[in-house]
């Protein structure tokens, strides 16, 4: 037992997340998960909206009032960005699945492209909603 614990204490430790230099790629990785989870939570709203449209007029009106309130709009903005980010980064993942874009410069280039495209699509969506387009 003692021999085993001595051995394991002499082994090099994998660096903990806390001392890693920040990298775009690791942020994209965890954001993909977080946006996926946020979108899954947001599906409750989609289900409620469709159900109310089909079955409950007053509930539908209530959901609409909430969605156009400042808090509702803020949630929709976050949700729309999460949607575009998860979609664009998902395409990046599909590229990796077929073996494309694994080189480190490529991973950074596609990473920044995902950030840019998802921000632009979010802005275009809200410009369209506010009648600017």
């Amino acid at each position: 037992m003692t021999q085993k614990s001595t051995l394991s204490s002499e082994r090099p430790l994998s660096p903990h997340l806390g001392i890693y230099r920040w990298q775009l790629t690791m942020t994209m990785s965890i954001l993909h998960r977080m946006t996926g989870a946020a979108l899954a939570v947001g599906t409750a709203l989609l289900v409620g909206w469709l159900w109310a449209a089909a079955y409950n007029a007053s509930c539908f009106a209530g959901i609409h009032v909430f969605l156009i309130s400042p808090l509702g709009k803020l949630m929709l903005m976050g949700w729309s960005f999460a949607f575009y980010f998860h979609l664009c980064n998902g395409v990046r993942h599909l590229g990796w699945d077929i073996g494309k874009g694994f080189e480190i410069p490529d991973a950074y280039r596609s990473g920044w492209a995902v950030v840019a495209v998802s921000l632009v699509l979010t802005l275009l969506t809200w410009a369209k909603l506010w009648g600017l387009l």
Binding site: A40, L46, W51, A53, Y55, H64, L67, K128
Partner: protein, 132 residues
Amino acid sequence: MNRSELRTPLAKVRGLGSAKDGTEHFIWQRITAIVLIPLTLWFVWSLLDLAVHSDQIKIALWLSSGFNATALIVMLIALFYHAKLGLQVIIEDYIHAPLYKYSCLLLNIVLMYGFAAISVLAVLKLHFRVGL
């Protein structure tokens, strides 16, 4: 002699390893992802027109089209299956206490399949305009 020492290494790991359906999970996550790319973009862009002056008759009119209703139902099924697969991995990665983990995995299945059933039923009702 301890009873556990009499067990073969194989006996010790039986039932602890892969359920041998990991590849199926991976493949369906990709299939639903690919299907969802055009369908969710189409749905979100349709919503931009629908949601601004959102009313039930407008949604029912939009869903009276067989194409729209069918595409939305396919999107909902792919969406909730994709969400179920993704949330399952998150639960498996972060929750380790067996009772808590299996409760969450079960809840995930019940919620996502339940959401799919409710939303598909709502689309069908709006499409056929039962009682509207």
